[in-house]
Amino acid sequence: MHDFLISSVYFGAFATLLFYELGVFLKKKTGLAILNPILVATIAIIALLKAAHLEYADYNAGAKYITYLLTPTTVCLAVPLYEQFELLKKHHLAVLTGITSSVIVSALLILGFSVLFGLSHEEYVTFLPKSITTAIGMGVSEQLGGYVSITVVAIIVTGVFGNIAAEVILKIFRVTHPIAKGVAIGSASHAVGTAKAMELGEIEGAMSSLSIAVAGLLTVAASIIFSALY
């Protein structure tokens, strides 16, 4: 069985979908944001690989066909961005200023913490794209020489934390305007946070999902510049 699993082409893809579904099921049953399906699936598959003494490569032999879809899917993010373009045009000054400052503040904070903790350059560029959507963040980390798997997990943890804490954070900072709330959530905690923004209201949700793509694109530029600083 062990030798068979090593050579199997479908095992990895099957396990990925199965454990993701399990995560979706658990989240629906409990309603807990911490049971994010990506986190659940990741932990379950790591446990399975450890238990069955399988290498990452054995799993990825099948799972890579799912990852293959990531670039075309990221390209498709232009479609919702285009559909929300009118909304952006209407409030462009405030929204673009907000998103741009989020990208700069995020990069400055990562730089500050990396210096403070004495992280390596590789670790630093791993975290630079942590506030943006995984699809773009992975590509940035890879291109800059970061540890892609750590970037992915950092992005997901950021999203889950943003989702859970958004209401409290916005209250502490006294952010009450629905557009400002949406921009703050979307540009700090991407799609996973946006799920919370959609619960808060229609404007919050639309602004949040708009911010994902714009913050993602701006972060590509900011990461390239900031990667040269440390």
């Binding site: 799912i66 670039t71 390209v75 200023t97 904070l109 506030s131 305007h177 921009v183 799609a191």
Partner: protein, 165 residues
Amino acid sequence: MPQAYPSVNDPSRNAVKLSKKAHSAKPGGLAFRFLIKYDYVIMKYIRQIIIILFISFLGEILNHLIPLPVPASIYGIIIMFAALVSGILKTESVKETSHFLIDIMPIMFVAPAVGLIEAWDLISGSLVQYLVLIIASTILVMGITGRITQRMLTKTGEKGGADHA
């Protein structure tokens, strides 16, 4: 001619329409009827996939040609967005497949995240620092962005709520 595509909601009407079309267009019985149905329903998605893969491929070419650490997918987003804004591409030509792919996108992050298993030795020592960095920066980025955006909105004379819907 997008109106010629059968609507998803009404399969029976479409079936009749399609078989009539199949008969009147070309004689050839069942095999042809299948082909024409294939053309109308399936080809729409095939065409959408062709467009999306073509733009991804263009992004790959730009990533290869331009010496910047910009992922192929980013060039792809820009090309797709420019094509939509300029009207070269209609939303209808990519809409369904795009929304489907975006809906299932979270599944695509599982395999890269499982790669953590190989990076574990690297992170186990600095796990606490990583968590502090992630949580503190998320709080500050969200709070500061919210404040700045709100400030800009009040400055440009926007009032919160109803008039934005």
